[in-house]
Structures are given as C-alpha cells and as structure tokens.
Amino acid sequence: MMEYEAVIGLEVHAELKTKSKIFCSCSTEFGADPNTQVCPICLGHPGTLPVLNKRVVDFAIKAALALNCDIAEYTKFDRKNYFYPDLPKGYQTSQYDFPIAENGYLTIKINGKEKRIGITRLHMEEDAGKLIHSGDDIARADYSLVDFNRAGVPLIEIVSEPDIRTPEEARVYLEQLKAILQYTEVSDCKMQEGSLRCDANVSVRPKGSSKFGTKTELKNMNSFKALQKALEYEINRQIEQLEKGIPIVQETRTWNEQKGITEAMRSKEEAHDYRYFPEPDMVSLAIDREWVEEIRKSLPELPVERKNRLIRDYGLPEYDAEVITSSKALADFYDECVDIYDNPKEISNWVMGELLRLLNANNMEVEDSPIKPKDLVGLLELQKKGTISGKIAKQVFDEMFETGKDAETIVKEKNLVQISDVGELEKIIDKVMEANPKSVEDYRSGKERALKFLVGQVMKETKGKANPQLVNEIFKKKL
C-alpha cells in the first residue's frame, strides 16, 4: 500500500469577551432567556445601522499580535450574503479582502519537537443567532425556533495555513491557540458553550507529493477529542477511497459524535456564492502604529514565555511547567500560591495532582474551584508545621473541595490534628506491641518489614493522626 500524508488547515472561531455586541449595545452574556438580549439592530430591523464596538478591534489586534501576525494599516468590513434563519440581515458582516491581520504563526510542540504552524489571516465578524430544532420531539413536530441573543456577538476567525499533518498536531494547535486567546483575555474559549469553534479542511496525498489532494471541510467538532477523532476517521476514509480508486468529492462533512463517523451534508443546494462586497453602512478603519504599539505593550506573558519562566525561576520539570501553563487560569493559580508559599515543586505536585483530579472529576474550570490559592497554601502550612500528616492533608483537601471550608476549620472540626505528644504515642505503641508479639519478634530477628506493619497499626489506631516520624523513632527506641 502506498504511504499517504494528510494536509490539514483549521478555521477557528472564537467569541470575544466584550460586554456588548459588535454593532449594538446588547449584552453578550451567555445563558440568558431566548430573545432577551436583542434590539432592532441585532434583529436586523429595516433602517438600522451597525456601530462598531471599539473593544472588538482592540481585542482582534491583541489576539493577532499574540499570534505573530502583521496588523493591517487599512482594513474594512464586507458583507457575506446568504440566507439562513439565524442570520437576521440575510448577510453576515465580516471581512473579506482586507482582514485586520495576516501572516502569523503559532509554535506547537509534539514529542519534544517544535513545529511552526502558519496563520493565514485573522478577521472580525459577527456571530449568528441560534436555532433550536424541535427534532427529537415528534409531538412538537415540524418547525424550529430561533433565538437571536447570540446574533451580533463579536467573533474572530483565525485561519491556519495547511501546515498541519496529523490529527494530533491539529489538536495540539487548537489547544495552544485556546491557551493564547485565554492568556490575552480576549476570549473565554469555552467549547461546550460554543465560544470556541473549529472547522477543518483536510485532504490526503501520497507522501512526498507536493500537490494538494481534493479537500473536504469538516464541521461540528465540539471538543479537542472530537477534532482529533474526526480527522483520524476522515483521513482513513479518504485513503480508503483513493485506494479503491474512487475520487474524493469536495464537500462539507459533519462529525457524528455518536456514530464516530463523518457524514456528507446535503449538497443539493447550489454552490455557495457569497457575493462579498464592501459593507456600505460602515466606514473603513485606519489602524495607526501607535495604536498597535499601545496594545503590544499591554500583551501579557504568553504560554511559552510563562512555561520557560517556571522552568527557569522555580526549577520545575518541563512537563510540570507545560501542564500548569496550558491554561492561564491554572498558571495564575500556581503563581499566586508560589507568591505566598515558597515551595514551587510541592505546589506543582498538589496543583497537577489533587487539584486537577478533582476539577476534572467534577467537570469544572479552574476559575470555579472552591479551593483558592490561599486555601491550598493554608493546608500546606498546616502540614509543614506538623499539625497534620501528609495523609490527612489529602483527606482535608477533598473535604475543602467539597465544603469550601478552609483547612484549619476542617482540621479543628474533625479533630484531625496530628498526635506529636511522645507520652500519648508511647501508650498507643505499647498497646500495639502487646497486641502483636509476633511482629515484635520478627523485627527483632531482623525482619525490617515488620516495623512498617507495626507503624501501620499505630496509624490505624489513631485514624492516621499519629506523627509517622515520631512513631518510627519511638518504635526503634523500644525495640
């Protein structure tokens, strides 16, 4: 069989975190009742005109700078004409031949190897409303409902070069892009709320060929995992077709998560001719360099720089630094802890271990964590002071996560303070030795392991509260 390689380009849409919509003053907040965040402008009433939200331009420039793009000096909006019920004006106000930014790149790292993925362009546009299909419910039968709350929420579209070769690269690119947009605080990038969306163009060709094969466009991939899986499926599908001698049809395909396959979308309609033309209701934009420099100055530390800093300043292993900086919120959490508790490695263990475990298990974002940096540090201090043991600390952490109480309160309430009183410990140890003469014997005859068992019995007796170091010492003395 011939060897093939895939050629993949991604088109990513990210909703910008502005307070108001791109062309009107309606709120962009997610989750409101349908059609409660609308006005004549975003409902496309006749006679209304768009008035551009300046922050949209600021955010677009910021994201573009973080993606190493050239910022245009002249840019304008265009109309993309097509009919769809969620599109109030019958056209989407977008950017066509003069996007705000072009020629950027993003560096991804896979198996320790760095690769640069080109970014063709970044442009601003408006989001459409939402269609609710009453599909599964046969009783309510044959119509759909339209909610225009999302219509007019600002978007940036980021189009990559066809530089991506594997589904894994695609996933890592998207993860990295998400991190950058979150770091620059231009977007929440919540895939489950639809504030980050991704389409892919994919084709295959014999390895070594420089010609592009016929591509298909993949839609409806709602998670990183879905993106990777859809691409894997589609690449195999295309290869199988070519092997059978069936040419690839240029079409739009949708990812069916349940079935785990891509399916062609109906293609009976006429090929899309969007009839782009300059938006006559808006004036063009001239972006002077001072404006760009001002925004450049405000750029925060980006993921790669931050990762390098964590390695350099705190001596973290690269793996730890990468995990922690993969999300800005997590990295902020980490930095805040390190600021008030000087043990970077211990913190990274807790953050990467316990914290992420509980967040993932509860499907929560770092921002929503009931345990704040000062709470974690409070716990670590109790442990360091010897008030609680390491084992108890994990138990307390779980409790903190569940109840939102701080460590000290929990330790007090549950009486989890470590027993470090020698007299008290000796009494317990005596009791354990009395009850386990065989083990005492074993240890004395040289079986080291017997000590572990005896210490374990003491911990059991004290419900884990005994200071393990002290217990060890006392045992060694007595035996």
């Binding site: 009433h45 006749p46 006679g47 209304t48 008035v51 551009l52 056209y91 009839r275």
Partner: protein
C-alpha cells in the same frame, strides 16, 4: 390666505402671534387630507389621533413660550420608508404592509423634539425603487398639477402632499433623484443633502452608499429651516459626518454677486426636452442679472453615471433587501412547509415586479464572474464621476442644470420599458454617485406643468446651494402654485 397654501415660516408667525392654535391648524390639514386625498392619494397612513395629541402638547409649549422653534406646531408628513415607532412603516410594499417599527428614525426624533406635528406617512415607489409611484403596492399618487400624470418618484407622495397643501412640508429620501425629480414634477423645492449630512438611521435602506433623507418644501427658506432641523452627526449612523452645522437660515440672502456658476453641457444634450432647456436658460439669465458669472463647462463622464448607478444601487439593494425573509417581521407565506419555500414564496409574493427586477440585477452583478465586469467597474466609474466634479469645483461654486429631462409624464407611459423609466433619473443620479448636495427649485411651467432647475455644489456646501436657490427664487418674478383641485 389659506394656511394650507402657506409656508412654515409664515405659519410660525401666526402661531407666535396666537392667530391660530396648533390643534386648529392640525385639524385644518387633517380635514384637507380627508377632503382631497382620494384624488391625490399621497397618504398611506393618516396619523390623526397621535397628530392631535402632539398638537395639544405643542400648543401648551407655545403658550408657555417654552417652545419657540420655528418648526413647532407645523404639520408635516414623512415618506413611508422612514421608521416611526409603533406607526406603520410600509415602504409601499406588501412585504411590510403591517410593519410597526420598534424605534423612531433619528430625523423623526429630531423633528419631534422641535414640536413638529406628524400628519401621516406618504406613498412612494416600493422600497423607493421607481420614478413615478406606480411601483407602490397600494396605489399610484397623482400629480396635483394634472391628475392624469405621475407626481414623479420615488418620493411622489411627499412632493404631491406638499404641492397639494396636504402638509406644510415633508421628508423624502433620495438615492438617484427620488427627492428632486418628484419635487420638480410637482413644482416644489427639494434638497438632497451631502452624503453623510443627515442621519440614515431609521431610513429603510435602498442603496446605503447613495441614500440621503432631505426636505421637500414650498420655498427655499422652509427648505433651509427643515434641513437645519434634521442635519448633523448621529452616533447611530457612523456614515454621518461630524462637521459643524452652520445656521442656514441666517446665511440666506439674495446677494450672489460674483458667484461662479458652471453650466455642464452634458446636461443639455439630446433626450432633454428643448422647452426644459429654455426654462433653465431663462433661470440662468436671472442668476446672471443678479451678478453671478455663468460659464459653460464639461463633466465628461456624465453619460456613464446612470449605468454605473444601476449596478451599484441594485447590488446594494439586493443585499439590503435580503433581511425580508418572513422570520422576524412583515409578510410571510404561512403555508410553506420547508425553509427554502418559505423564503421563496414569501419573497416572491411580498415584493413587487420592479423590486424583484432590481434584486435579480443586483444579485447578478455581484455573482462570482460578474463582480469585476460589473460591480468593480461601476465603482471605478464612480471615481471618474467624482473626479469630474472635483475638477469643476476648482472653477465654480455651483453647477446649474435641469432637474429632469421632461415635465411630469402620464401614468402608464413608461411602465412597459424599464430603461425609459430609468432615464428620467439621468440628471439627478450623478450627485448621488459623487455624494454632493443638490437642490431643485421650480423655474417655470411648460403647458401648465412645472419645471425644476437643479443646482449642485461641492460636499457640505449646502449653504451656497441654498443661497443661490434663494436668490433665484426671490428674483424669478413669479410664484408657482399648483391649481386648486375641484372638490365636490
């Protein structure tokens, strides 16, 4: 004199002196509409109750001397493509026959603030596409000078209402001549302001880069007053311009000594009736006698303005009218079972033939493959037209031309041949293409039908336009008033 024949500034004096109250005045106009509008057919909606409420409010304000604005209490009416909150705004289309906008156009807000009394909404060619009001879904408006003839269009209702004394003044909109051509046909004054001078917020768009709202009035002074009231930057329209607005009334005087007037020869070619040319030449004589310096000039790309206009205006219109899909407002075919047929039946039934013709032309002009051949070319021609004018401003303060090639034509005369209808915009379209201001003033009659003289000036030079028109009007030596209708 009957108040229905009077100008706004004259009525203002009466109101000030207390010779008449706003309510009484409003009732006189409402009665006249009731009496004669079944002959003229200018009004789609008469706003009786709300007009009287507003009249009472303004009466109180005038009595307490809180409202001294010259437009306070003056009854006026609006072209029905200007949005009025909770009052039907139909664009003379079945598509919007029941549409009640949830907001007011900026010009409506501005006039309301001054205490204007809005009598109702006036007929137009559907979505302002046409030159005769014959494209209205409701009915055709008649020319008060001859009921067998059209009032012009698309602001035919606006011009006819003013000429027939059914409103003191009105607002129209002008995309390719839609204020000036009907004003000329009906013997009244009409101004298309500089693009960007008046907010388009609330004007149902036909062609966004060409549309402007402007006044239609009985004389130039009223024109200046109404223009003053509606002009200025509007944060809701980012294509409106933030430049100082002069006091237009103050600058009105009849001294135009030394004014440099260009007479572009392309506006006097074949297709322009020789009698129309005669009236314009007589008017130019008046201006010369007042000390203006008149000279022939050339705007060489004039003949390309109209074809380029038809590409640009329809391309924009095709897109602007895409929002009429039966989802959020307006007409909808309720029987359609799938999405595509809901769209196509709603739109096919909701739009009239001329609107559909232009949507198809505009869609065609923007289709891939045609963009460069038609749309892009038209944009380039637009540059050439603008450059023609820019060169003219180096030598002249204003340009004077006929407003229309002929006087008002008979109903049905041009409905069969779209191109012949389009050609009636020949002389007005270039000003829209270049974004410059242009005014039409009545300058005589031919066989009992009025003729309009068009004056154009450089962007934002409405002051020069108004002054020139005012000087001419003061010295032309005759009044032009539509004959009184016979009412039984």
């Amino acid at each position: 004199m009957e108040v229905t024949k009077m100008k706004a500034h004259e009525i203002h004096e009466m109101l000030k002196k207390g010779d008449i109250g706003v309510r009484e005045l409003t009732e006189v106009f409402l009665d006249r509409i009731e009496k004669i509008d079944d002959k003229i057919k200018a009004y789609i909606t008469v706003n009786r109750e709300k007009a009287l409420e507003q009249a009472d409010r303004v009466d109180a304000g005038i009595r307490k001397e809180e409202n001294t604005d010259v437009l306070a209490g003056i009854p006026m009416a609006l072209k029905d493509n200007i949005c009025t909150k909770d009052i039907n705004t139909t664009c003379s289309s079945k598509m919007l026959h029941n549409y009640k906008p949830p907001y007011n156009a900026t010009v409506v807000e501005k006039l309301e603030e001054k205490g204007a009394v809005m009598l109702g909404k006036l007929n137009l060619d559907e979505f302002a596409m046409g030159s005769s009001t014959e494209n209205s879904w409701f009915f055709t408006t008649r020319n008060p000078w001859d009921l067998e003839r059209v009032p012009g269009g698309s602001s035919g209702g606006s011009a006819a209402a003013v000429a027939a004394g059914e409103a003191v003044y009105s607002l129209g909109s002008d995309t390719g001549g839609s204020i000036r051509q009907p004003a000329a046909f009906c013997g009244v004054v009409g101004l298309k302001p500089t693009y960007g001078r008046v907010s388009r917020n609330g004007l149902v768009a036909f062609a966004s880069s060409l549309d402007q709202i402007g006044p239609i009035t009985k004389d130039v002074k009223d024109c200046a007053l109404v223009f003053q009231a509606i002009t200025g930057f509007d944060p809701k329209d980012t294509t409106s311009v933030n430049t100082p607005v002069p006091d237009y009334e103050k600058i009105l005087d009849d001294n135009i000594k030394g004014l440099r007037i260009g007479i572009p020869k392309e506006y006097f070619r074949e297709g322009i009736s020789s009698e129309v040319k005669d009236r314009i030449r007589e008017a130019i004589d008046v201006l010369e006698r007042l000390g203006a310096i008149c000279e022939e000039t050339s705007l060489p790309h004039t003949e390309y303005a109209l074809p380029a206009y038809y590409i640009i205006s329809t391309a924009e219109a095709g897109s602007n009218l895409a929002r009429f899909d039966g989802v959020r407002y307006g007409y909808r075919n309720m029987d359609a079972e799938d999405l595509i047929s809901m769209y196509s039946t709603t739109r096919s039934e909701g739009f009239g033939p001329e609107v559909k013709r232009r949507i198809i032309l505009g869609t065609y002009a923007l289709s891939s493959g045609n963009y460069d051949t038609y749309y892009l070319k038209a944009l380039k021609v637009r540059t050439l037209i603008k450059q023609d004018f820019d060169r003219a401003w180096e030598e002249f303060d204003v340009l004077v031309t006929p407003t229309t090639p002929t006087t008002a034509f008979k109903m049905g005369e041009k409905t069969k041949d779209p191109v012949s209808m389009y050609v009636s915009d020949l002389l007005t379209v270039p000003a829209n293409m270049a974004g410059i201001p242009a005014i039409t003033v009545p300058c005589g009659l031919i066989d009992g039908l009025p003729v309009g003289m068009q004056i154009m000036a450089k962007p934002f030079a409405e002051d020069v336009l108004l002054k020139t028109a005012y000087a001419y009007e003061c010295h032309r030596g005759f009044e032009i008033t539509a004959p009184e209708l016979e009412v039984n």
